[in-house]
Amino acid sequence: MNITTERFKETARQELANAHTQKFLQILPLRLAARRDSAYQSFPDPEAAHRYGQTIRDEAIQRLPELLQIFETNAIANGARVFWAEDSRAANGYIAELAKREGVSYVTKGKSMVTEELGLNEALAQAGIETWETDLGEFITQLLQRPPFHISLDSGPKRSDEIDGPEELHIVILDNGRSAAYQDPKTREALRCIRCGACLNACPVYGKVGGYPYGWAYSGPMGQVLTPALQGLGNTGDLIRACTLCHRCKIICPAGIDHPSLLLYYRYKDVVGDRALGGNGAGWRERFVHTLLSVAGSDHRLWRLFAKVARLAANRFRSGDRIHSMPNGPQGWFSSRDLPALPAKTLRERWAQIDQKRN
C-alpha cells in the first residue's frame, strides 16, 4: 500500500473542502459512537468491563513473544502451517507463491487492516491473481480503488460450526516492525490496539478530516500511535503533531492505550533526532524559541524582560484593543482569529496594587 503520511496537511485541506467527506463525517462517527455506547451499556458494569479489557490487553502484549510460540505449537498440532514473515514482502511472497502452487486464480478476502498494511491486494494482482473483498464496504472501496476510510465497519464472523473446514490452513504471522516496537516499553503500548475504531469516532481531528490524511492502513489516533511505531518517525512529522491532546481517545480506548502520552513521546524523540525511531531533529527556529523560553523562564528577571519585549513587539501591530495580523507572526492563527492587544501591565506588575486592595 502506498504510504502518503507525509502529505497529511495537504490531504486534510482537500478533505475539509470535500462536501461528501464533510457530510459523511457529520453522520458516521456519531452513529458509531452511539452504537459503541449502547454495546457498553449491555455490560452490568461497563466501567469494570472497560478496565478488565485493558488488563487483558496489557497482559497479552507483555507476554506476546511467549504467546506467539504457544499459538504456533497449537496451530501446528491442529494441522495448520505457520509462516513467520519478517516484513510485508515476505508475507506477500509466501501468499502469492502458495496461491500459484495450488493453481489458484482468484481469492476471496475478509476485511482486514493488516492486509491493507501489506498491500496484499496489489501484490496478488501483480501475481495475476484476482482478489474479491467479501465485506460489502471493502468491496465498494475496492471498486473505487481507494484505501479504507474507516477501520471497523465489518459484519461479525461466522460461527465455526457453520462452515466446513478448509483443506489446508496456512497462518502468516507478520512482524513488519512489531518486534522493534516491542523492544521499547512505550511503543509496545501501541501494539495493544484491537482495531475497534472507537478512538477514531471520538477524535475531533478525525471528525473533521476523515481517514485519508493519515496516509496508511491505520487512521485516527490509533494510526497516529501505530504508524510511527511500525514505520519510524521519518515521514510522520505531521502525523504525530496533528493532535490537540484532548485525551478523548485515551479515555475511550478499551485496550488502555494512552495516545496523548505516546504522541508526546514521539514528538520528543523526533525533536532529539532519536536513532532507533528515526527522528528528524528540530529546526533551528523552533530550537531557538524553546531555548529562549527555558533560559528566560528560569530567572524571573529575565522573564520580566522577555514579557516587556513580547508586549512591545506584539503591540506594534495592534489596532484598537485587537491584533488582526502580524507580518512574520503566526499566520495560521491569524488566518481565522484575532489576538487581544497585550495589556499595559502583566499581572506581576499589577500585583502590588491587587495586594493592596486586599488589606
Binding site: 514528538r267 524553546h290 523560553l293 528560569s298 482569529r337 497585550l342
Partner: protein
C-alpha cells in the same frame, strides 16, 4: 484563613491578567489569602507539548523550586494544572530525585473550581448575575483532570443565571497550543463548529476554565462574530459577587 499560593499561567500573566485578578477576588471572597510568588514564570507546558523535554525540564525544576513549600497551589487553568500534576511525572521519569519532588508537589495543585468545590466544599458563592450562559468543557479540565461538575455547580448557584445546554460541549475547540497555528485549517474548522454551537445555544456568554480555549474561541468570535463573548469562569463568578474585574487591554 487559608493561605493559597497563586499559580498564574504565563498566558494569564501577559495576555489575560484580569483572570488572575478575578481568581484573587474569588479566593478573598472565600476567606482565603492569596500569595503570589513573583519568581514564577512558565510551567513548561508549551515546550513539553512540542517535544522539547530538556527545555521543559528546566522550566519544571524552576517551578518546583518556587512552589514546593506551599500547602495549596491554585490555578485558573486546567491545562497548566494537568501539566504540573500529571506531566511532570513523565518529564522526570528518568530522574528519581526530581520525580520525587514533582510527586510531592502534585497533590497540592488544584484547578480553581476544583479547589473551591472539592477542597473548600463551597458550591454557592452567593452571587447574582442575570445571564444565560453555556459551558464549554475544556479538554484538559474535563478529560485529564475529570473536572466538570464543579464549574457547572458554581455557575448554577449564581442567582439569575441560567445554564443552557450546549451541543458538543465536550468536543475540542481546536486550540491545542501550537496546533492552532500549524494545523490552522483543522483548528479553524473546530473553533468554527464551537462558535456555531455556542450561537445556536441561545446563550449570552460562553464560560470555560481554560485561558487557552478562551484565547482561541474569543479570537474567532472577535473576527467573525464581533460582540459575542467567551469568558473565563473566574471572571464570570467574580462578576456575580459584585467585584467585576475590569477586562483590561
Amino acid at each position: 484563613m487559608k493561605r493559597v499560593s497563586l499559580f498564574i499561567p504565563c498566558l494569564v500573566d501577559m495576555v489575560l491578567p484580569h483572570i488572575g485578578e478575578s481568581t484573587v477576588t474569588l479566593l478573598r471572597h472565600l476567606d482565603c489569602e492569596s500569595t503570589y510568588h513573583s519568581e514564577q514564570t512558565c510551567c513548561g507546558l508549551m515546550s513539553f507539548n512540542s517535544g522539547f523535554r530538556k527545555e521543559a525540564r528546566r522550566l519544571a525544576r524552576h517551578f518546583i523550586r518556587v512552589f514546593e513549600n506551599d500547602e495549596w497551589i491554585v490555578s485558573p487553568s486546567g491545562s497548566c494544572v494537568n501539566m504540573v500534576k500529571n506531566r511532570y511525572l513523565e518529564l522526570f521519569e528518568d530522574d528519581p530525585v526530581w520525580f520525587a519532588r514533582a510527586q510531592g508537589l502534585a497533590p497540592r495543585v488544584y484547578e480553581l473550581s476544583q479547589f473551591i468545590v472539592d477542597h473548600l466544599g463551597v458550591e454557592d458563592l452567593g452571587g447574582t448575575r442575570h445571564a444565560k450562559v453555556a459551558y464549554h468543557e475544556s479538554c484538559s479540565t474535563l478529560n485529564a483532570l475529570g473536572v466538570s461538575a464543579q464549574p457547572k455547580a458554581l455557575i448554577r448557584s449564581v442567582r439569575g443565571t441560567e445554564l443552557v445546554e450546549l451541543t458538543g460541549a465536550d468536543i475540542c475547540c481546536g486550540f491545542g497550543g501550537t496546533f492552532a497555528n500549524s494545523f490552522a485549517d483543522v483548528s479553524t474548522a473546530l473553533v468554527r463548529q464551537k462558535a456555531e454551537y455556542f450561537l445556536a445555544s441561545g446563550a449570552d456568554l460562553l464560560v470555560m476554565c481554560d485561558p487557552g480555549c478562551l484565547l482561541n474561541i474569543q479570537g474567532y468570535l472577535d473576527r467573525h462574530h464581533p460582540g459575542r463573548r467567551a469568558v473565563h469562569l473566574a471572571d464570570y463568578l467574580a462578576g456575580s459577587i459584585g467585584e467585576k474585574t475590569q477586562v483590561a487591554t
